[in-house]
Symmetry: C2
C-alpha cells in the first residue's frame, strides 16, 4: 500500500454520511459538494432570473458539447467528439443503428453474456424494428475474440463486466473487429472514471456510457456518446431530433444532420441534470488517471486479501489478476441478496446482482484504506456469524 | 374581463424578476418557488444521504409513473396510462414506431406543416431506418381531415401549432382516423397545461408532450407518453430499455415488456429533473382547467385588441376565433426577429419563430391583465416608433 493516500484531498470534495462505508460508487457515485450550490444557482439565477434567454446568456445550448468535452478528457476522446444527453440505452441504440447502416451487407451483432442487459434489450428492439434478419449473437466473454468473423457488422461490448468486473482488452478486440471489417461499439458504463481509457488510441468506432457511476453525476444523470472522427460525418443518427439538426432554429421541414458528433444530440437538453454533472466533473480536474488506477487496484487487492484471509472459501467472481479487472470486486454467494442486506444494515453499502453476485466498487476519490478494511471485516463477520440468515434480509426490494 | 383575476393567488407561487413581462411561458415556463427547495432536498438528503438506497427508500424507481399520473390528470389520462422520461423527440419515435407496427399493411404517416419540426425529423429518421417505403405525407393543417384515408397508418399531429397557435380538433380528427382504420398520435407540447384535454374521451391512441412549457418543469424537463389502455399491452416499444422490462432487476438476457405503458420507459430515470417537475406540478393542484382556459382566452383576446387598437395593420397569424387557438397569440412581421429583440431589451419577453412570426404565450397562473396591457403597449410603441430597426437587434443569437 502507498504510505499516504494519494487521493486524501479529494475526499473532502464529497458529502458522505459519517460512518458509512460506501462501496457502491460503481452503481451510484457519491455526492460532490459542488453539485448542490451549482444546481441551486442554475435554478434560481439562470432559469428563474434569465428565463428563456438563458439558452443563450447562460450557454445552455452548448452544455451537451461543453460537458461532453470534459467527459472526453477522461476517456481519451479529443475535443468535439463526445456529446451528452438522453440515457445510455438511447445512446446504445444510436450507435448500433448507425453501425448497422455503415455495414449494410452484414447481419450479426456480436455481444457477450457479460454485457449489461439493457444493451442487449436495445439491440433486440432495433433488430425487431428493422425486420431484416439481423442476429444478436451472444457468446461467453472469453469467446468473443474467436467469434469476430466476417459475418459481424458490429461488436457491441461493455468493457467492464457489470457482475464480475472482468475487463475486456479494448484495443485488441477493436483491432480484431477492424481486421475483419466490423465496427466496435464500447459501453464504458463501468470504465469511465474507473480506469484510463484511450478511445482514440484504441481506434474505437463508437463509445457510450452513463455518468452516474464513477463520474458522480447524480441519479439518472445524462449519458454520453463518442463517435470516431473518421465516422462522425457519415453516421446517420436513427434518432434524428431537432437538436441534432444542422440549424435547429431555422425550423426547416427536413432533417439535415449537424456536422460531426453533434448530430447525435436528439431533443432539448436536460439543463439542470447537465449542470449537476458539470459541477460533479470539477473533482476530476487534475486527476491523473494512471495514479487513480494504481490506487483502485491497491484498494481492490486489499479488499480481496482481507476477505480471503478469513474466508478463503468465498468464491471470487472477479479476475484475481487486477490488470484484468475494472474497479470493482465481486464474490459469489448463493444467498447473496440476504448477505448484502445484512451488510447494508451494518453500514457497508455494496449491491447484489442476480443470481448470486455481491459486488463492491472502489472509488479512490472518496474511499480510503480504512473504509476497505472495515468493509471487509464486517463482511467477514456477517458471513462467519451467519447473521445474514434472517427473514428481514430476504425481503426483496424493488431495486437491488 | 373578469373583475378580479381568478388566478391572482397562483402568481405568488412563482419567482419572476420584478418588472418583467414574461410572455414566453409557452416556450419555457417560469420557475415555481417549490422547485429549488425540493431539488436541494433530493440532492442533499436523498442522493447525498441515502445514496443508492434512495431508489427504494425515496421511491425514485416509481417517479416516472407517479409524476406521470400527475400529468395525466391535466390531460384527461387515467392513472397508470402516462409515464415520464427522455425527451419529446424520443417519445414521438416510440409512439410512431409502435403505431407503424400496429398497422403493418399501411405505409403513410400523415402530418401537417404546423407540426413541430422535431416530430417530422424523428419520423424521417424512423422511415429511413425501417427502409420499407413508408412515406411522411405533410399537408397544410386545413387539409389534414381530407387527407386521412385508408393508406394512412398513423396521423401524427401537434394539437396546437407552435407558430400560429391554431388548435386542431382532437376528437374529430381522431374519430376520422379511426373511421378509416388509422391510429392517431397527438403531440401535446403546446396544449398540456394550456387548455383542457380529454385524451380518453377523444379516444387518442398515443400522446406525447414536453413539460417545460406550460407545466413549468424547467429547461429540458422530462417528456411524457400516453398510450391508450386498449393498446398499451400490444404496443411494442422499439426503444426497449431495461426500465421498460417486466423485471429490470432480474437481469434476464431477453427483453420482456412490462405491462401497459410502463414498457415505454427506457433507461434509468432522470431523478433530479423528475423531482423538479414533481415540485412544479404542485401549482396545478386544485386548478380548474376550464377556468384556466377561460382566463387564457380573456388574456389573449385582450392582447390582440390592445395591439390592433393602435396597429390595425399588424397581421395576426393566429386564428382570431379564440376557440380555434391555443394559449398563444402570434403576429407576422417581416422583421420579426429584430422586433422581438427590441421587445426583449425593453423587458417584454416573447419569442421569434422563423421566418416571420413573433409569438406571445399567455399563462394565467402567473400573468395578469396588467402584464398583458403593458406588453401590448410596448409592442405598439416599438413598432410605431420603428426603434426595433437597429443593428444590435438584428444580430442573431444561436437560440431564437
Amino acid at each position: 500500500m502507498s504510505a499516504i493516500d494519494p487521493f486524501h484531498a479529494t475526499r473532502a470534495l464529497f458529502d458522505l454520511p459519517d460512518g458509512l462505508v460506501y462501496l457502491d460508487g460503481n452503481s451510484l457515485g457519491a455526492l460532490p459538494k459542488a453539485v448542490g450550490p451549482r444546481v441551486a444557482e442554475v435554478i434560481a439565477s439562470e432559469w428563474g432570473g434569465q428565463l428563456i434567454g438563458a439558452w443563450n446568456s447562460a450557454g445552455w445550448v452548448d452544455l451537451p458539447r461543453r460537458v461532453g468535452d470534459r467527459v472526453g478528457r477522461l476517456i481519451g476522446a479529443p475535443a468535439g467528439t463526445v456529446v451528452m444527453g438522453d440515457t445510455l440505452s438511447i445512446k446504445v441504440y444510436q450507435a448500433l443503428a448507425s453501425a448497422l447502416e455503415l455495414r449494410p451487407d452484414r447481419h450479426v451483432i456480436l455481444s457477450d453474456t457479460g454485457n449489461f442487459p439493457t444493451d442487449l434489450y436495445m439491440a433486440q428492439g432495433l433488430i425487431a424494428s428493422l425486420g431484416r434478419g439481423h442476429e444478436l449473437r451472444v457468446v461467453e466473454p472469453e469467446a468473443v475474440e474467436g467469434a469476430i468473423d466476417r459475418s459481424v457488422a458490429a461488436v457491441m461490448l461493455t468493457q467492464v463486466d457489470y457482475r464480475t468486473g472482468r475487463l475486456h482488452d479494448m484495443a485488441a478486440l477493436t483491432r480484431r473487429a477492424h481486421d475483419v471489417g466490423a465496427l466496435a461499439i464500447w459501453d464504458l458504463a463501468h470504465s469511465a472514471g474507473a480506469l484510463p481509457i484511450d478511445l482514440l488510441g484504441a481506434d474505437a468506432d463508437f463509445a457510450v456510457g452513463c455518468t452516474y457511476k464513477y463520474l458522480n453525476g447524480g441519479p439518472g444523470a445524462p449519458a454520453f456518446i463518442y463517435v470516431a472522427p473518421r465516422l462522425a460525418d457519415d453516421a446517420r443518427p436513427a434518432l434524428s431530433g431537432w437538436f441534432g439538426h444542422d440549424s435547429p432554429f431555422a425550423f426547416e421541414p427536413s432533417y439535415r444532420p449537424a456536422a460531426g458528433v453533434e448530430r447525435m444530440r436528439v431533443g432539448t437538453p436536460p439543463v439542470v441534470a447537465l449542470a449537476a454533472l458539470d459541477a460533479a466533473l470539477d473533482v476530476w480536474e487534475g486527476i491523473d488517471m494512471q495514479a487513480l488506477r494504481a490506487r483502485s487496484i491497491e484498494l481492490g487487492n486489499l479488499f480481496i486479501a482481507e476477505v480471503h484471509r478469513s474466508l478463503s472459501d468465498l468464491e471470487l467472481a472477479s479476475p484475481e489478476d487486477a490488470s484484468r479487472r475494472g474497479s470493482q470486486v465481486s464474490f459469489r454467494h448463493a444467498e447473496g441478496y440476504a448477505v448484502m442486506q445484512a451488510l447494508i444494515a451494518e453500514g457497508v453499502i455494496g449491491d447484489y446482482r442476480a443470481p448470486d453476485i455481491i459486488r463492491f466498487g472502489f472509488t479512490p476519490l472518496y474511499l480510503g484504506e480504512d473504509d476497505v478494511r472495515r468493509g471487509a471485516a464486517i463482511l467477514v463477520d456477517i458471513l462467519s456469524s451467519g447473521r445474514w440468515d434472517r427473514p428481514e434480509f430476504r425481503r426483496r426490494n424493488k431495486v437491488t
